[in-house]
Each structure stands twice: as structure tokens, then as C-alpha cells.
């Protein structure tokens, strides 16, 4: 990858990767640190990375780095009681916001597959490459994620 191509990746992909990471970490500063770290590491071996695969390579690097950060920050706690209560007190009418909240409750891997699928439009195969899963696993995780989101949404609809 040339310097020009590297800069193209920064301009075109950094926002996408940032959103992907932010959805998991839910902390803007931490998410920005992850992206910066990933790009700086990629720059060090810029000649080894092919431009054609740069985007998925960056997503993969960001995912791995993000997992490290999450573990470090001990942010793996899922289905928090506080956030559950928050949803009950403030019923969400906007489906987008509700889905966004529900997303937070999904397991890490399900969040990743569904974000890559919906945000980036990656195929099962590409998602598998990025997250080091096989296609069937990706498919199962996407189905599970959508079903969980649907259950959450329908439950809220009943409340509202």
C-alpha cells in the first residue's frame, strides 16, 4: 500500500471503523484511541498490507484491539440492571434508538457480526474473515442477534 493509498484509507474508512468500535465501547475517547492505534500500527507495516484488502484488514485489527481494550476496561458486563431500568422509565418511541439500546445488550460477537452486516454490507464470508469465524457461525450469530433485537423491540412496543 502506498502513502497515497494509506491516506485514502484514513479518509474513507476511519469513520466507518470508528462507528463500529464506538457501538461496542460506547466511549468516544476510547474509540478514537483504538482507531488511532490501529492506523498507526498499520502505517508501520504499510508496505506489507495490500490496498485491496486494507478495509477488512483495518476492521480486523480494530476488532482485535477493541476486544483487548474492552477486556482491560472490564466492560464485558452484559444485560446491566441499570440500563434495563432506564429503558423502562423512559419508553423509547424511536425504533432506531431502541435498536441501538438493544444492541448494547447483545453479546460482543453478535454485535460485531450484525454491525458489519448492516453498517458495511459485508458478506458472511467477509465477516468470517474479519472475525475469524466460519460462514455458518456468522449466519447463526446474525440470526440470533436479529431475533434478540426483535424480542426486545416487541416487548417495548407492548409497554409503549
Amino acid at each position: 500500500m502506498t502513502v497515497k493509498e494509506y491516506n485514502f484509507c484514513v479518509r474513507e474508512y476511519s469513520d466507518n471503523i470508528y462507528r463500529f468500535v464506538l457501538k461496542h465501547i460506547r466511549n468516544e475517547e476510547l474509540a478514537e484511541d483504538v482507531i488511532q492505534d490501529v492506523f498507526e500500527k498499520v502505517w508501520l507495516k504499510v508496505s506489507d498490507v495490500s490496498f485491496e484488502k486494507a478495509k477488512s484488514y483495518l476492521f480486523q485489527a480494530a476488532y482485535n484491539r477493541m476486544i483487548d481494550v474492552i477486556r482491560k476496561e472490564n466492560r464485558q458486563a452484559r444485560w446491566k440492571t441499570e440500563s434495563e431500568a432506564k429503558v423502562v422509565y423512559q419508553p423509547q418511541v424511536d425504533a432506531k434508538q431502541v435498536i441501538d439500546q438493544a444492541l448494547e445488550r447483545l453479546p460482543e460477537i453478535q454485535q460485531s457480526v450484525i454491525l458489519l452486516r448492516d453498517y458495511e454490507g459485508y458478506s458472511y464470508e467477509e465477516i468470517g474473515e474479519i472475525l475469524e469465524l466460519n460462514e455458518s457461525q456468522v449466519k447463526v450469530y446474525i440470526f440470533r442477534a436479529r431475533k434478540t433485537l426483535k424480542q426486545y423491540l416487541s416487548r417495548l412496543e407492548l409497554i409503549v
Binding site: 502513502v3 497515497k4 494509506y6 491516506n7 484514513v10 479518509r11 476511519s14 469513520d15 466507518n16 471503523i17 470508528y18 462507528r19 464506538l22 478514537e32 482507531i35 488511532q36 492506523f39 498507526e40 502505517w43 440492571t81 434495563e84 431500568a85 423502562v88 422509565y89 425504533a95 432506531k96 435498536i99 441501538d100 444492541l103 450484525i114 454491525l115 448492516d118 453498517y119 449466519k139 446474525i142 440470526f143 436479529r146 431475533k147 433485537l149 426483535k150 423491540l153 416487541s154 416487548r155 412496543e157 407492548l158 409497554i159
Partner: protein
Amino acid sequence: MSKINIYTCEIYLLDFFEGRLNKKLEAELRLFLRKHPEVAIDLDTNPIDFFLPIESELFVKKGAILKDERAEIFTDLVIAEMEQTISEEEETEKSDLIELYPYLAQEEKLIKQIVLTPNMDEQFSRKAQLIQKTGISLRPLFYWSGRAASIIVLLAVYFFSHKRELVVNDNGVNIAIHKPLENNTHVFHEENIPMTNDKVNSLVKEENTSQLALKSETKVHVKSSLEIPKLASLPVNELAVRNAKLITPEENKIIIPDKNNATMAMTDESLDLLSTENIMEKLFGTTQTDSTISVKKGFTIRIGKLVLLHFARKNKTE
């Protein structure tokens, strides 16, 4: 700690009526409502219902459970359609289900909302810091110069930590042998000596001195010029000169260390100016001339041979 409180009990009640509550939560809900019957009244629920045995309640909710099961299949079909993995048969099944249960059309609408869309306002703000200047990048330059410097240092360490011993083969070709440096031993410097062993031996023959016989392979060493005077007491056949500084690269120019470790330069011709005894004395610390002198093959032999040649020549003329 129970999750059910005055704020959340409504959700659990709804789940209970739809048959979604597991036995543990149902028991917790019953317990809660027994403690707070006023909450049940507020929610238009008869608190007495919750004092009934669980088994009888479960029987009533079976229909609701069956309904969910059917919806579950429908959900899978809609997700498969969204993921574009639905088969023709499944598509037909889905249509049939909607026809049979019209409320599923609403369900489909709900499921299809579950597509995540990125918030484009969320942008990475440190892009400018990551953009690299095109053209010559200083960073790789630093890396490469650092690597080059490391290699130079390693090579320098290698060469300075190994002594080079020079050997002249029979064809007069210099061969440098690298050996690890031992403690306080002298380093031999490579010299370009024009004369070969054969040439010297032939000269010896020409001089026809019966008193001198060279054995080129014998190993005899003198550690440094400082030791030459001390060697005066030793038999001549154990002597040789090992100090590399004895010979300079210039042709026909020999430096012989004197007794005080000073160097004395002279040409081949100038050797004549010194007496044989003087040379022998200075070089070997002895003037004894009738012994066989054995010297090491190589450039050290040259000193011996040349001096001996000179000595032989002198003898002959005398």
C-alpha cells in the same frame, strides 16, 4: 436480590399474562404481589389470582405459548428473507402464515425495522493526525539509517575483535586468517611482500652457504621486539621474529627493531652497512653463525631469510 419492584412489576405482569415468565420469576412476582396487593389493584389485576396454585395458571397459558412458537417460525422466515437466504418453499410458507394469521403482517413490519443504520454524525475526529505526507517520508529514512548504523557497528566490532594472521603460500599470495583476539597478543598487519619462499630458497642456493639450512615449516615465535634481547641466551634454532611491524609494505625496505624497541628502517642495500654480527645481534640477540636457523613459514620467514641471505652473502665475500 429480586428484579421485581414497584417500577418493574408491570413488565413482569405483562410477561406473566403472555406466558413468557419462567417459574422462578413467576414465583417472585407472586411473592411481590402478596406483599403489595395495592399494586395489583392499581394495574386492574385481581390480586387473588396470584394466590392460586401455579399449576392451574400454567394450564391457562398454554395457548399463548403455542402462539409464540408459531411466531418464532415466522420470525426465522422473515429474517431469512432479510438476509436473502430464504428458499422458495419458505417464502410460500411465510405467505401462507400471513394469510392464516393476519396479525403476522404487523410482525413482519416490526422485524424488518431491525436493520442497523449508522449515525453519520459520528465521525473520527483525529484524521488529520493520521494523514501522512506524500513524498519522502522521514520515518523510513530514520529506520534505514538506524539499521545501516547497527550493521556498521557490528562489522566494526567483529573486525576489531579478531586478529588477522597473514600467511604467504608458496605462490606468494597473501592469505589473511581471522582468529579471535587473545589477551595482549600482538596483531599482525597485512603486508605486501614481493619475495616468495621459492625465490628466497633459490637465492640461498645461489649463495651456496653450507652453514645455513632453512626449514620453512618449523614454528618458532618471538612474542615481540621487546623480547629479542632476552633471546640472546637461547639457541639460535629456536628463534624467529613474529612482530608484524618488522616488515613495511614498501618493497625492499625492512624495519628491524633495535634493542631499545625503537625501529630502524633500512633498504636491502643498507643492510650492507651493518655488520653481520650487528644484524644478528639486533635481530636475534646472538652473533652465533654456524647453527641451523629454523623459522616459521610466512612473512616472518622473510626476516630470517633476508637476514640470513645477507649474512650468507657477507660470509661469502669475506
